[in-house]
């Protein structure tokens, strides 16, 4: 039997990922926990979490990605008002309906005010669930910021050790950085492949390949991604008459898979996006063999991470970075796809708009909610936009 026949196809890999994503609960994490003693799993609210610190401590970081469009929010909307984004409510709803019972704790981050308050509300409603909150530094110019963040990670490691009953060693942390580097490097390669040959890997395919990393142990995810990279690189396809688009704004609450497909079907090649950006986060590998790997992780956060509206690095203009990204990806246009009521992404838009207009790059602003399930109207808007560019 030849190797080629054994290699999984993109279609089969995506189908597998879709199944994982659609299944409620965290079966892979439970299996991982049960396979050895001193293991635990923690739910990580978006956008970025220092996965290595948890994993090195025997805690599998599981990504929380909201409730999708199959969850009815029946309890949590009495706790958070109508003008709060959906993922805040759907995460609380998951807790209230027992869907997070397989997890041993939850971690939130300093990304926005509702997420900040959710950390408190969650811990009040679930007093037996350990809740952690990470304050990421927002002063990127301060020479003391890496030290501060390193100390913050050390505090998080103590929390993780309480969950698993096992403290990490420096070597554990180095090993965790190595495996997560491998995952991120493969994702970066897949992103590069899609940028260069978007007809070989649709975003509706790439997205679940990345998203499944929310659920799987990193070793398993790394293997799956390597298979996907091989399959995509050896795939055959033909370019279609579509516009090349950089999509931004969907870094926290996630659009339904069908919305991603609808955007592509409306005539777009999505050549870059910020979906699930926390799974890639860094621009390159985090140094693996330093004397203080916690400090290496902290420095990478401050100096070698991707732009995001939840980071306020005043050394750079996020709008100008978006223009550069559009140009380096040879994009014809930008779609700003914001989650309804998401303050960080909505606040990013006015400066994006001004700078994109000045740069002569067409853009389309759209809003979505994770729970939406009708896409005709939004698809129509995108088709009109695409046509205006194709037949300009």
């Amino acid at each position: 039997m030849s190797t080629q026949t054994l290699s999984p196809t993109i279609e089969s890999l995506v189908e597998r990922c879709d199944r994982f994503i659609e299944e409620p609960g965290f079966a892979p994490a439970v299996a991982w926990k049960n396979a050895a003693p001193n293991r635990a799993a923690i739910g990580c609210f978006p956008v970025y979490t220092p996965a290595e610190v948890f994993y090195a401590s025997g805690v599998l970081p599981v990504g929380l990605a909201g409730g999708g469009n199959r969850m009815e929010i029946a309890h949590a909307d009495s706790r958070f008002q109508s003008f709060i984004c959906s993922i805040i409510k759907s995460t609380l709803e998951q807790g209230m309906t027992g869907l997070l019972d397989d997890l041993d704790g939850v971690v939130f981050h300093s990304i926005c005010d509702p997420a900040r308050n959710l950390a408190s509300v969650y811990s009040r409603n679930f007093p037996n669930t350990p809740v952690e909150y990470i304050h990421f530094p927002q002063n990127f110019e301060a020479e003391e910021a890496p030290r501060y963040l390193r100390d913050e990670y050390e505090r998080v490691a103590l929390f993780a050790a309480e969950l698993s009953g096992r403290s990490m060693t420096t070597e554990d942390l180095r090993a965790a950085i190595r495996i997560y580097n491998r995952v991120r490097d493969t994702i970066r390669r897949l992103y590069a492949l899609r940028r260069d040959s978007p007809h070989l890997l649709r975003t509706r395919e790439l997205y679940p390949l990345v998203r499944v990393g929310h659920l799987l142990p990193p070793e398993e995810h790394a293997e799956l991604l390597a298979d996907a990279l091989h399959a995509a690189a050896t795939r055959e396809g033909r370019e279609r008459d579509r516009i090349r688009v950089v999509l931004t704004g969907s870094f926290c609450e996630q659009p339904p898979l069908d919305l991603i497909a609808a955007i592509e079907d409306a005539g777009c090649y999505l050549v870059d996006d910020d979906f699930l950006i926390g799974r890639r986060w860094f621009t390159g590998d985090v140094p693996e063999n330093t004397g203080d790997p916690l400090l290496a992780l902290a420095e990478a956060y401050l100096d070698a991470s991707l732009p995001s509206p939840v980071k306020h690095d005043m050394r750079v203009s996020p709008a100008r970075l978006l223009v550069e990204r559009a140009r380096s990806h040879r994009a014809d246009a930008v779609i700003v796809l914001c989650a309804k009521f998401c303050e960080p992404s909505l606040f990013a838009y006015p400066t994006y708009r001004k700078t994109l207009q000045e740069a002569g790059i067409p853009h389309l602003f759209l809003e979505f909610e994770e729970k939406m399930w009708m896409f005709d109207r939004i698809k129509g808007e995108i088709e009109t936009f695409v046509e205006s560019l194709l037949f300009d």
Partner: protein, 421 residues
């Protein structure tokens, strides 16, 4: 119904001092040579600016002044025209609209900033706001990063304190560059000493509403005192204001005089006021003889009533502690529940009003949970929604109906002391 009058001597002094403050802002805008720093209310480190004679400008105060004068909407709309969402904080939109409107307001011409001091004290919108101001003004912002209270102790860690102190030293360096002068440590100590005395008086004023009747309304009258607390703290004028205010309010307390003829309900109120409709909102409570005896909003800039005081012998350390721990905005949401519980108990209140504003998610996100928590504890609790800046989100008839129904319902139920109100 006759209109209620709320004005006292301190209101007039407040107007006079704030007029002087705004005149100084206008003079700076017109080239007086006094540099201006934009900074935010949350735990504001205004003492450091005093040491350099830098004029503090609070965009939040400017925005609310626009709203009170019913001038905010055109600025909000011009920001929305630039791409700001109807769901973004309207303080930011009013400020950005005003900035691009030539910085002209009915009360002052706002100067261009020599320093954009983003004291990131809990509110994530602060970061976007000052990031945009940096982008629009071409100035770089100084991000003073204040780690949020996130441990079970409810206190900052020693690492947090050290981190903030080191940043304050950098901020001093930036102020030295702007003014061309070295830090005068004696001047800093003096500003901190004045703040310490001011804060102590403010704490005493806050405790006066434990008396029955409360000598003033701890929401609608406290907000009158908040502008001098931020814009004038650390100056002799600021201290003079609070000496006058304390004397006047103490005399009222001693005389058993309150803001209303009769005090029937004592409530705690959570959340910022609806500035564009402040008077209408106040009257909705007055008609029920209801007085706010404590408010969380009046602690966004500092929590002096729970024991904080600036320390002139350790000026930077006390500024750091003020930023980190002794203000509402950097404390977590459950600490706010504790704060409200203390008010309910120690200020002897019999109801909780939650004014949920769309603009400020720091305040409002999760207030449904807060309502659930206090309702289950037997505290009559009402949650009403509007906005702090955008006049379009205030439905007067609906608001009045809900407040009427609330007080109607608690008028006939036993209070915590077992007597009918």
């Amino acid at each position: 119904m006759t209109e209620t009058h709320y004005q006292g001597k301190l209101h007039h002094l407040q107007k006079e001092l704030m007029s002087e403050y705004y005149a100084a802002l206008t003079a700076s805008a017109n080239g007086s040579g006094v540099p201006a720093a934009y900074l935010l209310i949350g735990g504001n480190p205004v003492e450091l600016l005093r040491a350099f004679d830098i004029l503090p400008v609070f965009p939040e105060v400017n925005a609310l002044q626009l709203a009170v004068r019913k001038q905010s909407l055109p600025f909000i709309q011009s920001a929305e025209f630039m791409g700001y969402s109807s769901d973004n904080c309207a303080y930011v939109k009013a400020d950005i609209g005003m900035y691009f409107g030539g910085r002209q307001t009915p009360f002052a011409t706002i100067p261009e900033p020599s320093l954009l001091l983003c004291n990131y004290v809990g509110c994530n919108v602060y970061l976007d706001w000052f990031g945009h101001l940096a982008e629009f003004t071409g100035q770089s912002a100084f991000q003073l990063d204040i780690p949020f209270i996130r441990t079970a102790s409810g206190k900052p860690s020693k690492e947090d304190i050290a981190y903030v102190l080191r940043q304050l030293h950098h901020l001093i360096g930036r102020c030295e560059e702007i003014t061309g002068r070295k830090l005068d440590e004696e001047k800093l100590r003096e500003a901190v000493r004045l703040s310490s005395l001011t804060g102590d008086l403010w704490a005493k004023i806050k405790h006066l509403t434990k008396r029955t009747p409360a000598p003033y309304d701890a929401y609608f009258d406290s907000v009158t005192m908040m502008a001098p607390l931020y814009c004038l703290r650390g100056t002799p004028q600021g201290l003079e204001f609070f000496e006058t205010a304390y004397a006047e309010l103490l005399a009222k307390a001693e005389a058993g005089v309150g803001p209303l003829e009769k005090e029937r309900f004592r409530y705690v109120i959570e959340g910022p006021p609806p500035w564009p409709h402040l008077r209408a909102f106040r009257d909705m409570f007055s008609r029920w003889d209801a007085v706010a005896v404590a408010s969380t909003y009046s602690t966004v800039g500092g929590l002096w009533e729970f024991g904080f005081t600036h320390d002139p012998d350790h000026p930077l350390e006390s500024i750091a502690r003020h930023l980190l721990e002794w203000n509402l905005t950097n404390r977590n949401f459950l600490q706010r529940y504790e704060q409200i519980e203390r008010y309910l108990e120690e200020w002897n209140a019999n109801a909780l009003i939650i004014h949920s504003v769309k603009s400020c998610r720091l305040f409002s996100a999760g207030q449904g949970d807060m309502r659930e928590y206090f309702t289950k504890r037997g505290v009559p609790t009402l949650l009403v929604e509007s906005d702090l800046e955008d006049p379009r989100y205030f439905s007067e008839a609906q608001m009045r109906n809900r407040i009427d129904a609330f007080f109607e319902s608690i008028a006939h139920r036993p209070t915590r002391e077992g007597v009918t109100a």
